[in-house]
């Protein structure tokens, strides 16, 4: 990154050769010329392969989805029926479940992630404790998703269930909690589990953003008599705002595509219900549950179409985040 956007005149104090990023080391002739030439070609080929993976992936999934694309067209997006026997497929309940569960996750993850990032970067704690804490929280990212799912089924849901029953019986008048007798596997549980899973992403990126803010800003605010938290709220968070937004977007991208833990806790029932205590279904979950047994033809086509929609969703979110990061790093060249 540093090479790509550094202005050329920045290192003009160095001898001209050293300041030039594009030093040409290629031999033009001699015994090893062909080895070198071949090597260059090889490297370029492999770079093309990496790019091709993404392009071929889009094409293959689009191709697989063809039967369903032809049959249902764009109406697939708001079709609400999913009937394997009668070959009628609609994506809306799955899209709804994916978006809502990710939205719940990101709502929980943003404040908690920022809190973790602050605690692990703002000298609240000795440096060794700070690093250890950051490392421990990053360990969550290393836990396989299926194990988090297993844990939530057997340990987390029994803990959460009484609370959800209480919410349902006392706050029925709020549409969000209007369910008769919630069992533990529902949208809210899935959202919380997703929040736990995307926290390391959110916290780590926000931490990097906060650490990148120049010391002078901090010192200046402190010198004017602000307390630590006034500095954080008035200086650090506004300065890191775009970085934090892109952290949230990357975390959102992860939440949208997360499969195993969600499949195990969301209840897998394709319905659209305002209540968060009702079971739901997401695109990754239906792929995980049905793909292996699906009949080639329209069913596989519909599932691939869902995959394509998910691909598009995450692609949009991730490209947005990448562009934002680039824009952010260009703007903040101190």
């Amino acid at each position: 990154m540093a090479n790509s956007s550094e202005p050329a005149d920045k290192s003009s104090s160095l001898p001209p050769n050293l300041s030039d990023d594009k030093i040409d080391l290629i031999a033009k002739d001699g015994a090893n010329f062909w080895i070198d030439q071949g090597f260059t070609w090889l490297v370029y080929t492999f770079a093309v392969i990496t790019v091709a993976v993404l392009l071929v992936m889009s094409w293959v999934i689009f191709h697989e989805a063809q039967p369903a694309v032809v049959k249902f067209g764009i109406g697939f997006l708001w079709g609400q029926d999913w009937d394997t026997g009668n070959q009628i497929f609609g994506a809306l309940p799955y899209i709804y479940g994916t978006l809502v569960s990710s939205a719940i996750a990101i709502l929980f993850a943003i404040p908690i992630g920022i809190a973790i990032a602050l605690v692990t970067s703002e000298k609240f704690l000795p440096l060794s404790v700070q690093t250890a804490l950051a490392f421990i929280i990053e360990l969550i990212a290393a836990i396989p998703s299926v194990i988090i799912g297993l844990w939530s089924i057997f340990i987390f849901i029994p803990v959460l269930e009484p609370l959800q029953k209480w919410l349902a019986s006392n706050f029925k008048w709020i549409a969000l909690f209007n369910s008769e007798d919630p069992i533990g596997t529902n949208m809210l549980t899935a959202g919380i589990i997703l929040a736990i899973m995307i926290l390391p992403t959110m916290a780590a990126i926000t931490r990097d953003v906060l650490l990148a803010i120049p010391k002078e800003l901090r010192s200046a605010a402190m010198a004017l008599g602000s307390t630590r938290w006034e500095t954080i709220f008035r200086i650090l968070l506004p300065a890191g705002f775009s970085g934090i937004v892109s952290a949230a977007m990357l975390a959102l991208g992860r939440a949208l595509g997360e499969t195993m833990a969600v499949t195990m806790v969301i209840g897998n029932s394709a319905q659209i219900s305002a209540s968060l205590l009702d079971p739901a279904y997401t695109i990754p979950s239906v792929l995980a549950n049905e793909f292996a047994e699906a009949e080639p033809g329209l069913h596989i086509g519909a599932l691939s179409y869902l995959g394509l929609i998910l691909f598009g969703l995450t692609l949009a979110v991730n490209i947005g985040a990448v562009l934002l990061v680039q824009w952010f790093s260009r703007k903040n060249k101190y």
Partner: protein, 293 residues
């Protein structure tokens, strides 16, 4: 401090300076401290609970013979072998491509348009959901070979590992000072010699870290294996037959009514978690070692 106490004027300045914060600001400070620490502590609970429960529930069932028995006989030998096979295939496919693309980004492209494009595609590739990668592998391998297989699973995991390896290799190569490249070139080294004998050799710890991180991530992946490698209760008979793996074992059997099978699920979790944590810790150790040099 004692200097202030000598004169009356300075004492008033001192008392001014040391006047405590107004109660509102003080409460705000302490309140926010409490909130931040509480939220951070909140996150440690699930992590510790996961580790504790899995060890407590699984350790009693962990017996050496499980490593040589297949799932049918309540062991996880075939799943371990399957995971190793699938991750091995994935590594064979992704490591060469990943390292050479990393070399391209760090040594050849640097800041030109193509490199920026490749880098952007690679970053986007890291964000593609693993289940979508599974759909891709299904279309490319399962439909063509007409069967679920370890190769299809390996292909899916390779796509997941690839961007991790590319980006970490690039970072590792960038840390090698330009002077070393110039020195090698000045001695008459060609670009091939410079890259492989000097730059890549010096960056091996960093590249290894990237590979380990990618392997750790791939070993725990479940979603893309569900419909590429599928699962088998018994030892798999070849690379083109359905193959068991540790994460899929957990997913397939966690609701099994057979108590011995549900015990097996917890024991498998210990092994999988231990495997993934060991690889992650190893990669972190390598990073720390190279940093202190």
């Amino acid at each position: 401090m004692s200097g202030y106490q000598n004169s009356e004027i300075n004492e008033s300045i001192a008392s001014d300076l040391y006047r405590p914060l107004p109660i509102k600001r003080l409460l705000f400070t302490y309140g926010m401290n409490a909130i931040a620490f509480a939220l951070t502590g909140l996150v440690l609970i699930p992590l510790l609970s996961i580790l504790w429960e899995i060890i407590q529930r699984g350790i009693s069932g962990l017996k050496p013979e499980m490593f040589v028995k297949s799932v049918i006989d309540y062991g996880f030998g075939n799943a371990i072998l399957g995971t190793i096979t699938i991750v091995g295939i994935a590594s064979l496919l992704s490591i060469p491509v990943g390292i050479l693309t990393g070399i391209f980004l760090a040594e050849f492209g640097q800041s030109n348009l193509i490199a920026r494009f490749v880098r952007m595609i690679t970053t986007i590739l890291t964000g593609v959901p693993s289940i979508v990668v599974g759909v891709f592998a299904y279309g490319v391998i399962v439909l063509v070979t007409k069967g679920f297989s370890a190769i299809a699973g390996g292909f899916a995991l390779a796509v997941i590992m690839l961007p991790v390896i590319v980006l970490t290799t690039e970072e590792a190569l960038k840390l090698i000072p330009t002077d070393q490249r110039l020195a090698s070139a000045a001695l008459g080294g060609t670009r091939f010699q410079t890259t492989f004998r000097i730059v890549v050799t010096a960056a091996i710890p960093g590249i290894t870290t990237g590979i380990l991180l990618a392997v750790a991530r791939a070993a725990g992946e479940t979603a893309p294996l569900l419909f590429t490698a599928l699962f088998s209760l018994d030892w798999s008979t070849g690379l083109l037959t359905p193959t068991a793996s540790l994460p899929v074992l957990i997913f397939n059997l966690y609701n099994d009514p057979d108590p011995q099978k549900s015990q097996l699920v917890w024991t498998t979790s210990i092994v999988l978690l231990g495997l993934v944590f060991c690889i992650s810790l190893l990669s972190r150790l390598i990073i720390n070692k190279t940093k202190t040099k």
